[in-house]
Structure formats: C-alpha cells, structure tokens
Amino acid sequence: MTTESAPAPGASAAEEPRPVSYREALTQAMREEMERDPDVFVIGEDVGQYEGAFKVTRGLLREFGERRVVDTPISEAGFVGLAIGAAMAGLRPVVEIMTVNFSIVAMDQIVNNAAKVRYMFGGQVACPVVIRMPGGAGHQLAAQHSHSLEAWYTHVPGLKVVAPATPLDAKGLLKSAIRDDDPVIFLESEGLYAKKGPVGGEDELVPLGRAAARRAGSDCTVVAVGRMVWIALAAAEELAKEGIECEVIDPRSLRPLDMDTPAESVKRTNRAVVVEEGWPECGVGANLAARIYEQCFDWLDAPIGRVSAADVPMPYAKNLERAALPQAADVAVAVRRALGR
C-alpha cells in the first residue's frame, strides 16, 4: 500500500502552511464551490448526517443545510438520474456514489443520459453534473467491492473522466469539474484518502486534460493512473538504486487525455511502461499503449510494458488479493524488461 505520506512531486504547488489530506482536499473543493455558486449542491447516500462513508462530506450539512446536502435512499439509478435532470435544469449537482462498484447500478443513467443529452438533442441542453466515487482494491473487499472502472467510463464519448492522485489535484480537479459544463466522472481512490500533501487556494484550479510529470528520468517513461502513480514512484525509487531513472507521468485526466506530455517524454526515454489498477483487457493501459505506439512508434526501442491487475475477479484472501494487484515490484520488472535487463 502507498498510503504513507510523501510530498507530491511535480504539479505547480502553491505552498500551503499545513499539508491537507486527499479527503479534506475534496471537502475543501466542495465547500468553496458551494460558497461560490448557489447552484452547486451535494447529493448521495449518507453524505449528510453520516458525513459520507469515507467522511469526504464532513461538515457540509452543518454548513449548508439539508437543501444543499441531500441524503438519499439506496437508489443509485434514481438519484444519479435525478442529478442529471437537475443539471439539465441548470443546477450543478455533485453526486457522491458511495463506491465505484455501486455506480454500475446507475450505469444506464450515466451512459445513456448524462453522456448523451447534449449531443442527441443537438446541443440544446448542458449536463454539468459531477459524479464522484472512490474505487480500487486493497482492503480485502472481494469481488463485488474492488472495481477500478476507469476504462468503462473513459470509453464513453460525452463523459469527461478524471482520476486525481494527489491532494492538490483532488482539490484543483474537483473545482474544475464542478465548473465544467459537461458531465465529469470523478474517480477517487479509497487508498489515497488519508494521503497528505499541499493543496491550492480558492482560485487555483487544475485544468482537465493536462498531465503532470511526477518524477524526471531519462531511461524509461512510466505512465501511471490514480493510486498507481504512487506504486510507480515507489518502483522508480527502487530502480534508481540500480541506476535506472524513470520518468513518471500522471495523466490526471483520462478524457480528455493529454498525450503531448507522455509522448514528449517517450521520445526522450525511448521506452514506456503503463500502469493501471484495472483489468488488462481493453483497459486504460491498453489504450495508453496504443496511443503511445501511434505517436511514438519510431522512437521506441522496446515494446511497451503493461502492468495491471490480474485478469480475475478480486479474491478475498489477503495473499491472493496481493497477488492480483499491481505492486511496485511488478512495475520494476516491466521497466527492467523494457530496458532489456
């Protein structure tokens, strides 16, 4: 696990006196945007009185009241659809789905409605909804509670998809997402909520569609998504001891996807490894690899390495779960292989 606190490299961090957790960074973003815009409201299961299953909405009910912090029944299809309708009416809902796993219940609303209403109706309406949800595995929650669905959502034109890895991005990207006029799927990572780091101020937004370099290096480019950024950085530290310098790129936003940053890096390192927490088939890594091949084929000195979860539903047993999840050692193996070692 990579939940221990380490400074977030890269990204133009405005220094804050106190490091803030990824969780609190998200709370700050919601609070500030709710103060700024009376059309912003928060809705989801246990987001009010209980302050969120992961306490991300802590304090919001007290501050903004029940009109703007809405506790829902366990009806994902219903309240996600409701939020989409409210967004069509011009409000700016921030939906919390307790975990990404339960968004599957609301998939029809997200894919058939949120992603489609602007296009299908010839641009007559906007759908400025943000759907936040934590995903990922690592807590022995077994097959139905361990999904990483980055690829599913990224597949859909009409949606925007972001996956912040640092508190600074969590806050800055959420603020951008709330102000965005399109539906944004905001993929948080359960394993990162406690992670601390600097965050930006009220007016410091992180734009959607811009990648960040987390570590500079000249031997191999490692593109890693969400929590995997920290796995990649851990691997890079190990590899540095062997004299291998990795450049770690965090796309931050999967749709729109900034390919300039990773492509520029690969053209210097001539090698690439992609790392994701989801499954390998048709995954985010497969997509990143394809895009790198398209843009960097002539620069590559080795096949692109892919690191992902094992191609199995997540097992419960701790040892099996560990084996099924990408570890820093797996990234190191892939990098060495790309370097022919």
Binding site: Y50, W279, E281, A309, V312, N319, L320
Partner: protein, 345 residues
C-alpha cells in the same frame, strides 16, 4: 416418499425438538459473531465484517420455516443464514479468515458466503442485487414443476432499489414461488428508515403487485416462523409469492468499521430489552421445553463448537497463490491470468 411428505417439512406447530434447534442455532449465531468480531480486532479477518447480532430470530425463524432444500439468497450480513442452513461453523470461520478450507475456498470472505449443497445461494454485496436471483431460483422450481420455495432475504435499505419492484412484479405476474423477506432493522448504514422510505410500513409495497404481505415482530422467533411458514405454504400450494417484513434491530454498527455514533443509546436499549435470545429462552423455560441445566448444556456445546471453529480456521492453510485464476471459468483456457501482476514470476 414425495417431497411434501419429507420428514424435513417444517411442522405447522413446532415441536420441542424444532424449538430447541431454533434456540441453539440462535445462540450459535450470536456467539459465532461475537467471536468473529474478536478475530477481526486481532486482524485475523479482513475486509468488511457485518454483524447481525440482534437479528437472530428473524434469520432463524424464517429459515426454520422452509425446507432445507428451499433455495435462499441473502446480503453480505449472512453468517447466520449459512449457520442456520447447517454450514460447518469451522468452514464459515475459515472463509472469514480467507483460508482454503472456507466455504468458498477463501475467495468470498464474510460478505460472500455460499453453501450450494445446502441450497444457500449466497451473500451478495450490492444492495438489492441478489433479489432477482431468488426470483430466478423460484422460476427454476416452477419450470421444473417442483414444489420448492425460493426466499430472497434483504434489508430495509434494499427496498428502495428499483430492482425490488421489478422482481416483485415478475414473481406476482408469473405466479412464482418466492418469499420476499425484508429484514427491517430500521437502518441502512447511517440512515434511519424514515429518512429513506416515504412509506415506512415496507410490507405495504406488496399491495401494488396484488401480493399478500405481513409485517411481524422480527425479535420473536415463533412469530417469524409462523409468518414465513404461511408464506411458503401459499407459494408451494397456490403459486403465490408473498412479502414478509420482520421488524428487528442490529445492535452493532453497520460493519466493524462503523463507529455507530448517529444512533441513540436509548433506542438501542429499548430493543435490547426485547433481546430475541433472552425472550425465547424465557418462553422455553416457562413451557418446560428447556431447563436451566439443558440451557447451560446448550451454551457449553455452542462454546465448544465456536472454539473448535476458530481453531480450525486459524490452523487451516492459506489459499495457494497459483490458484488465483481457478474458478474464473468452467473450463479455463489458460491458468495464467494475463496482467503482469502475476505473469512475470
């Protein structure tokens, strides 16, 4: 001997043997879960651990009213369902420990127990998701012209998933032998029922489907037994699905990781004053079905079984990592799951 004549058919009026079985099973579930909580605190159990302490009468009374061959589905709060169906406490505890001797070989954990041999078709983690499976199990019974009854067990929170309405409509429309058993413990995580349901008499939802329904005291094992027995009879004999709402309370937080700070202590005490184990024991003692000595003997026996279960679990081997991809498919085309998390070794 036909199915209906089976000696395992639950009797109209439970005899002493059945009542003692119900009592012992409730004690077994209570002690099993208390032990599971301890093992969780010691780090022997991972993931989520949802305890049904306080809900034993609803679990045992309903399952006792079915035949052992009647299929049931449940939620993640299902240790009691497995034990009431006769799964070995050791194999259930081993599953919680994630060991190869667990009921699901360590792949499922606490939320996903199953004992297909005992017609317990599993605990599921997505609220509402398991309800239509029970309708399908009932469909299969009816398709094969058998006389079984399928029971969907779910919580008051699950009632607000659209899939329940879809499931109830199909069961009623096609006259499927299904019992929709709502274990109303008055909370879905931190949300009290009156903050989640516009109509808190949940059984009334059945009326929209022309389905018989009953609300009963889920702290009273005999009341639950009688209600489910009648619902099962209707399903078996008349092909008529029913909804049963059993009102109970969970004493602990939603799961071991829930600090449970939003529920009032006074409310908890009120329910605990009607503890299903204590009240049933009192009834049995009053009738003479149980004596102080036999009650003690039951408790001792349960204690030994729990001790043995924990020992069995902790001494059981881990699941071999090479078996990671086993059971993904009936006929795997490769035992090497793609994904370099395991491939490079």
């Amino acid at each position: 001997m036909t199915e209906t004549d089976s000696p395992l058919s639950p009797p109209e009026r439970p005899d002493a043997e059945l009542m003692l079985w119900m009592f012992e099973t409730m004690v077994l579930i209570r002690r099993f879960e208390e032990r599971a909580a301890e093992e969780y605190m010691k780090g022997n159990i991972g993931g989520f651990l949802h305890l049904a302490i306080g809900e034993e009468a609803a679990v045992v009374g309903s399952i006792a009213a079915l035949r052992p061959t009647d299929p049931i589905t449940s939620t993640y709060r299902e240790h009691g369902q497995a034990l009431a169906r006769g799964s070995e406490p050791g194999a259930v505890m081993a599953e919680l420990f994630g060991r190869s001797t667990g009921v699901c070989g360590g792949l499922g954990g606490s939320m996903h127990l199953m004992d297909a041999e005992r017609h317990f078709y599993g605990g599921y983690g997505i609220v509402g998701g398991s309800i239509p499976l029970a309708v399908g199990l009932g469909f299969a019974v009816s398709y094969r012209e058998e006389d079984g009854v399928a029971m969907a067990m779910f919580g008051d929170g699950a009632v607000n998933q659209g899939v329940l309405a879809e499931s109830m409509n199909m069961a009623a429309l096609w006259e499927l032998p299904v019992v929709f058993f709502v274990l109303n413990n008055h909370y879905g995580m931190g949300t009290a029922i009156d903050r989640a349901s516009a109509e808190t008499d949940l059984f009334k939802r059945a009326e929209a489907f022309g389905m018989p329904a009953e609300q009963l005291d889920g702290m009273n094992v005999m009341a639950v037994y009688r209600g489910v027995l009648e619902a099962a009879r209707r399903a078996r004999e008349e092909g008529q699905p029913s909804m049963i709402e059993a009102r109970a309370y969970r004493y602990r937080g939603h799961s071991m990781s829930d600090p449970d700070t939003t529920r009032a202590g006074e409310e908890k005490e009120r329910w605990q004053a009607r503890d299903p184990l204590v009240t049933f024991e009192r009834v049995l003692l009053g009738e003479g079905t149980l004596t102080a000595e036999s009650a003690e003997a039951i408790r001792r026996r349960v204690e030994e079984r729990i001790e043995e279960a924990a020992r069995f679990a902790s001494q059981s081997p881990e699941v071999p990592v090479e078996q990671l991809a086993r059971h993904v498919y009936a006929n795997p085309w490769s035992d090497d799951p793609t994904g370099s998390a395991v491939a490079p070794r």
